[in-house]
Amino acid sequence: MSNPTTKILTDDLNLFYGQKQALKNISIGIRANHVTALIGPSGCGKSTYLRSLNRMNDLIDNVRIEGRVMIDDVNIYDKQVDVVELRKRVGMIFQKSNPFPKSVFENVAYGPKINGVRDRAKLEEIVQNSLQRAALWEEVKDDLKKSGLALSGGQQQRLCIARALAVDPEILLMDEPASALDPIATAKIEELIYELKDRYTIVIVTHNMQQAARVSDITAFFYLGELIEADETKKIFTTPEKKQTEEYITGRFG
């Protein structure tokens, strides 16, 4: 196995909502082309951390960040960094699927169009590619004009994934992508994640430990805004080093 490279390096990250500190001294390296799962009880900061990787927290009033988040060679919190460009490289899938009230085609084509792609043929190619990579193509290819909202829950989420893939990001951030879905749809999403990690670096927040165990290579355990432990998934779930990790895994709390 080749030496795994670090795609995202978080260095002593602290985040404050006004006076309240939500993240304390987070330092972690996210491996390229691997799936990293963030687990922990509600309110422990895992979603907040995820959102700080594409600076979606900037949209909240009163947020203050200290520390660095390096993606490749760039500290994304540097003053010189263009947030809009950043978000084109780091895609996000939300907990509740949020397709636009437009057609399937227009949903997926949204990103490329924003980036200036006008050529119809090119758009169609991108849309098809993205839908295929999101394992949705076969189900929608006959009616791309159908409204995105007319799809089932699982399909909508895959549509959102396709939409994110269409801008060709390098990293995919997923915030509990399957929590609102039934087991079959969930399984489809998990399968998809496995396929996607070849091309993308994936960070997924999940409150479902079994899912983390199934899907991820690395697992990071968050508790009360701190990163308690991060290691290979197998190790975390069988022989965790920290006591808190063990207690959470075995269900003593959470």
Binding site: A32, N33, I71, D72, D73, V74, I76, D78, K79, Q80, V81, D82, V84, E85, L86, R89, E170, D198, R199, Y200, T201
Partner: protein, 356 residues
């Protein structure tokens, strides 16, 4: 496998022209409303100012030949400019140059409004009293009706009925005031005259009743909103204790909504005070002083509406009319401000359990 790595150059901050232009343009337009209200303030008061700051104006010669006469009315086909449909005062049309009278404080507070005459009188009192008479009457009639109806709509009516009632009564709000005025002038006045055997066909009573029709929707809407926004847990607590619907409505919902209902009445008052067309058509337009309700009256708003068209730009009469406008502006502004503060502060305090 993704080979490209991010570097600082790729993520360097970009200046987006479209973004910049859009933001500046949108912000600029938004300031329009702010500019508008400031402008209204300035101009209305500017034209009223000469009265306020020049108490003793020289009684200059009646004819000022060089002055360019600009009037804003136009010729009516027909006889003169009789402003009153029936009865009392007739303002005679003056063809000569504008009148320059003394708009001293003494004159303004006199009880006679006769701006077009040899010795112009700018007594605001009859006009103010006229406005107050009509407004009070309107509120007296409209408030109970509107509040009871609001109570019915929010507390007693089933859902489907509510969906019909609210828009229907709000439709009454959409009636142009000209229409209400017309109805009052033609039909209502005759009805009331025969009902009560009144001497004058158009008077404060007719104006007040007609105005009530226009005020009802205002009071109704705000009161209903206020009643409907009482949190469900309050009403449910009452019902759970065994109270009936009507007991809950009268002893829980209504008291809790008092600030909002009060504000509704204030807003209705403000609306009635500033209304022009209804009073212009239905009150007889005679600037009399007196507390009787069955005599014709002249409100401040109607005075502006009726006389501005025939006033000469820049003369005393013109400025006094603007003064009336300024008073109207201030009055309604204050009422609205009080109503809003009242709703917000009292209501919030109540629900946090702080005030009585």
């Amino acid at each position: 496998m993704q080979e490209t790595r991010l570097n600082a150059a790729a993520l360097k901050k970009k200046f987006r022209v479209n973004e910049f232009i859009a933001e500046k343009f949108i912000t600029g337009v938004a300031f329009l409303s702010l500019a508008a209200i400031i402008l209204i303030f300035i101009f209305v008061f500017r034209e009223a100012a000469p009265i306020l700051f020049e108490e003793k104006k020289e009684v200059s010669a009646v004819a000022q030949v060089e002055e360019e006469q600009e009037t804003y009315g136009e010729e009516f086909l027909g006889e003169g400019s009789a402003v009153v449909a029936e009865g009392m005062f007739r303002s005679e049309s003056v063809e000569s140059a504008g009148s320059e009278g003394e708009a001293s404080l003494e004159n303004l507070l006199s009880i006679s409004w006769q701006p077009v005459s040899g010795d112009p009188k700018y007594g605001i009192l009859p006009l103010a009293i006229g406005s107050l008479k009509v407004t009070f009457l309107a509120i007296l009639i409209a408030s109970p009706l509107a509040i009871l109806a609001a109570l019915f709509t929010s507390c007693f009516s089933p859902r489907w009925l509510k969906e019909i009632l609210k828009p229907t009564i709000e439709l009454l709000a959409g009636f142009p005031s000209v229409v209400v005025g017309f109805f009052a002038l033609v039909t209502l006045a005759s009805m009331l005259q025969s009902m009560f055997g009144l001497e004058y066909r158009l008077n404060a009573l007719v104006g007040g009743v007609a105005m009530a029709l226009a005020v009802i929707p205002v009071v109704y809407t705000v009161a209903e909103d206020s009643l409907a926004s009482i949190p469900k847990h309050m009403t449910e607590a009452s019902l759970a204790l065994g109270a009936t619907k009507w007991q809950t409505a009268i002893f829980v919902t209504l008291p809790a909504a008092i600030p909002g209902v009060f504000a509704a009445i204030l807003l209705g008052f403000g609306r009635a005070f500033g209304e022009t067309m209804i009073v212009l058509m239905a009150t007889g337009n005679a600037a009399l002083i007196g507390w009787g309700l069955t005599e014709p009256v002249r409100t401040m708003s109607a005075t502006i509406g009726a006389e501005m068209a025939e006033v000469v730009f820049g003369d005393t009469h013109y400025h006094v009319l603007f003064l009336l406008g300024a008073i109207l502006f201030l009055f309604t502004f204050t009422l609205n401000a009080v109503a809003e503060i009242y709703i917000r502060q009292r209501l919030l305090k109540r629900f946090r359990g702080e005030a009585s």
